[in-house]
Point group: none
């Protein structure tokens, strides 16, 4: 006959846990000896080990009792269910592992490798750290919204970086936002380039965001984020509106002379 602490030690649980299982009726209360101590038979060890195996697999204690009472086929079905659940959980932890690994390497927070490649390319082109950081934050938001689509978009995004106009745009923006003065002329220049690029994209029908276009929130959010990072973005938005475009992260034609 075992005492509660022997039982606990043998099965690798705490005494408190055993008492808890008694309380919720999962493990039957054993006989007491003359002084009121619980005395366990070897069978209790077996019961407890079975309980722990299921509990370790993530089965709620409230279900374990029913499972152990169930007939073989019901039990087998439940086990299959648990196994699936364990598989999912393992997969979840593995993706989580990748995510935090990215988190560790600074800006690679939750970003697909394609995106980090893109950010690295921006640096190569000479884009300032502040602007790159802004891009990073934007892509974090994009990744949160469309985790899959983002990877599809990147190749063309990267390809666009070969366009001298775009490179020039980014360099101007880097200069502007790196300085503390408000060099309005540069902003105007940037707005002109941006509008020109938008026109080209618009004409070539390059805007095929699909369902994405339905959801304004992320893009509004991106613009707001940019404004927060640097209020001069507000001026840029104004300049774009003068040129017939709304937004920044995603440019939309304003109703105007050229409907």
């Amino acid at each position: 006959m075992l005492t509660i602490s022997q039982l606990a030690a043998y099965t690798g649980v705490t005494v408190r846990a055993v008492r808890h299982y008694h309380q919720i009726g999962l493990l039957p209360e054993p006989e007491r000896d003359s002084s009121g101590y619980r005395r366990y038979s070897a069978g209790a060890v077996v019961s407890l080990i079975r309980i722990r195996i299921l509990a370790n697999a993530g089965v709620p204690l409230s279900q374990i009792g029913q499972m152990l009472d169930a007939d073989a086929s019901t039990f087998a079905a439940a086990v299959e269910e648990i196994d699936r659940h364990l598989g999912d959980e393992i997969a979840r932890l593995e993706t989580s592992r990748k995510q935090i690994a990215q988190l560790a390497s600074g800006d690679r927070l939750a970003l697909a490798p394609e995106v980090t490649t893109y950010l690295d390319r921006l640096r190569d082109i000479g884009v300032s750290e502040r602007v790159v950081a802004g891009e990073r934050d934007s892509w974090i938001l994009m990744s949160a919204r469309w985790p899959d689509r983002v990877r599809e978009w990147m190749p063309s995004k990267i390809a666009q970086l070969d366009d001298p106009q775009l490179i020039r745009l980014y360099r101007i923006l880097s200069e502007v936002f790196e300085s503390d003065t408000s060099d309005d002329a540069r902003l105007v220049e940037a707005a002109d380039i941006l509008a020109s690029l938008a026109d080209q994209a618009y004409r070539s029908g390059e805007i095929d965001l699909g369902e994405v276009a339905q959801d304004d929130l992320p893009f509004d959010l991106l613009d707001a984020l940019a404004v927060e990072a640097d209020p001069r973005v507000k001026r840029l938005l104004g300049l774009m509106r003068e040129r017939g475009w709304d937004g920044l992260a995603r440019l939309e034609r304003l109703a105007g002379p050229s409907t």
Copy 2:
């Protein structure tokens, strides 16, 4: 500017969770609008996503704040720690998966048929019910501890029952423990046989318990269980110690003249 439900929807958490993060100071309270509603900036989205990545990795909320405030190297160390933890957790789930698979197969951790065969053979030989019951309880514990190994061990266990010495031993033990008197001479005889058998096994190098030998607890428990079932076992243990052996369920050479 976002409302709380927009923020929540965007980051895939519940509104309640966001408010909880405010309560514990993990996410700073944003400005309120004229009607007292919380209004979030885009930066909050990024913060919240980072919080969720860490939380999903199993980091307690109470630590996440410190982590995000920490400098790069401290953060990197913490991430490494988390990664180890995740790896452990994945390994744990994988073993758990194997365990429940075993639980489903076989007779669910009760006694394997090999063991019941063994117990029946004991009865055939003339072993008393009390001793058989003791053996049964022991094997329940063994099965709980090493569900697989037990089935491997049984064939040789059953084969050993052909040994006349062992049969004689079991019969003596049956007699002794069935009677209420303490027939010490019989116990001495039993000890002699047991020591002789142990010597043989020891010399033939039959003791290959492998990793099992590392784990004393089960064997101590088996001995304790036997002593509880009948205090005369204590005397038997003493006699064995005189003969240079420790234990009963598993005999071990004591340090002595014949080291």
